[in-house]
Amino acid sequence: MKSGSNLERILEKRLFAVTAELGPPKGNDIGVVEKKANLLKGYVDAINVTDNQTAIVRMSSIAACSLLVRMGLEPVMQMVTRDRNRIAMQSDIFGASALGIKNMLCLTGDHQSFGNQVDSKNVHDMDSIQLIDCVRTIRDEKTILGGDDEVEGEVKMFIGAAANPFGDPFEFRVVRLAKKVSAGADFIQTQCIYDMNRFKEWMKMVRDRGLHERVHIMAGVTPLKSGGMARYMNNNVSGITIPEEILDRMVKAPKPADEGIKLCLEQIQELKGIEGIHGVHIMAIEWEQRMAEIVERAGLLPRPTA
């Protein structure tokens, strides 16, 4: 066991894993974290806590993760390379581990021009792949990056990375995944999938390289709430494309929210059948109250106690 986390145990046993996402509050209101967490308790194996997503200032991922640990839930700490240099990131990895955090997801992060601090200086001392390499070095070689200084203690971290099969150039997407795996990624959570054909094509390239044997790939899904949300995401969220037939289905649905859930359930079933998919990452953005229903209707309950 690299980390001993619940997520690692479930994935290593080849049980189909389920993770969710929790966005921390835009302030210090612990109640927001607790409310969202309670809606997810018992329905997922681990909860991703975002790190100032879309470059909007929120409670730090590390603090919100620590609150989840206290509640007996397992977090996946997201860490973006946008805001911290390698000193701060390594320091936070030590701190996160000390606070009982066992999973992390290494990301580059949304550009600050999307958020509410457009005049900030972005750091990008490292990129996401270099961060993966850094965490693996700390964990496996027990030294800090580029140094001989031995790490005091054991930083047992299950290392995650993102993959976006919908970015361009398409042929490079599997190369980027291979680089992340070689750098040390143990698991992958993909960008939310709507274009199933392209995703399947990507997965075939993944299998052709044998990457599905080297890393646990969790497919990302986001239930759509309305036709408007679908259009907005298609037009404005970088790296997301929603095929016309899905847009059409959402726009025409008499009860769009229910249709969105139904669509999400269909997607989960289809993804479960793809060779090399070891779990699903359900990003129900500000819709945690529907998570229980999604997981239950997808036939993913009860969650295993691995």
Partner: protein
């Protein structure tokens, strides 16, 4: 070359508020090429400032000059006679030129008339784009001759992020994704396998400005 843009007139007028006699000095090197601080711009800016000050009822006497290269002390020293006859200097050279004046004339205030913006290429007449950030350890051999340090909004070194869409960067639809361009270029020159190589974290601290101002000393030239 270094690119610059003239500061807003109001900002320059505010700098010059306390003075009645100044030297406006340009530079005939980089900033002349980008039409921000050459001889021609010295003339235009001097006339504009005179007119603005006359209108406000506080006349301003402006001496004009233009250095061959304002980043070199010997050319800046040629300004001595004029500098000693004014209360302040307004330089429309790049930030390097302004600092050379500050160093050579310790008793005279110097103000910048341009914002130094980047090192770039002329895309077409009147359009310049950033191309180099002088990171201190060139990686263009790995990237097909296109620089991700200067041209990727996240300075990524291991290929495009998920925000690369149809050749464009996620930050703006009309900004090309340099990593898509690098990918295309490496494909064209038969080196696309370079995209597979892991590029470790860059040594910003030892190679770049992050350790303070860098110095080049060439002993073959100094002895």
């Amino acid at each position: 070359m270094i690119k610059a843009e003239q500061k807003p007139l109001d900002e320059i007028l505010e700098f010059l508020g306390p003075y009645n006699k100044v030297l406006l000095v340009g530079c005939n090197a980089c900033v002349a090429v980008c039409h921000a601080g050459g001889e021609k711009e010295v003339g235009i800016l001097a006339s504009t400032l005179r007119a603005a000050r006359k209108k406000s009822g506080q006349k301003l006497e402006i001496l004009e000059d233009c250095s061959t290269r304002q980043c070199e002390p010997e050319f800046v020293d040629e300004l001595r006679e004029k500098v000693e006859n004014v209360e302040a200097v307004l330089s429309i050279a790049c930030g390097v030129g302004v600092q050379t004046i500050a160093k050579r004339f310790p008793d005279i205030p110097v103000y910048p008339g341009v914002n130094t913006t980047f090192m770039g290429e002329t895309e077409e007449l009147g359009v310049w784009v950033e191309r180099c950030q002088a990171c201190g350890n060139c990686i263009l051999h790995m990237t097909g001759g296109l620089c991700p340090v200067a041209r990727c909004a996240k300075q990524l070194l291991n290929g495009p992020c998920g925000g690369s869409q149809e050749g464009n960067c996620e930050i703006k639809k009309d900004v090309p994704c340099v990593w898509q361009q690098i990918y295309d270029r490496l494909t064209a020159i038969g080196q696309v396998e370079r995209m597979e190589q892991f590029v470790p974290a860059k040594k910003w601290g030892r190679e770049s400005r992050d350790s303070g101002p860098r110095t080049i000393t060439r002993e073959d030239l100094t002895v």
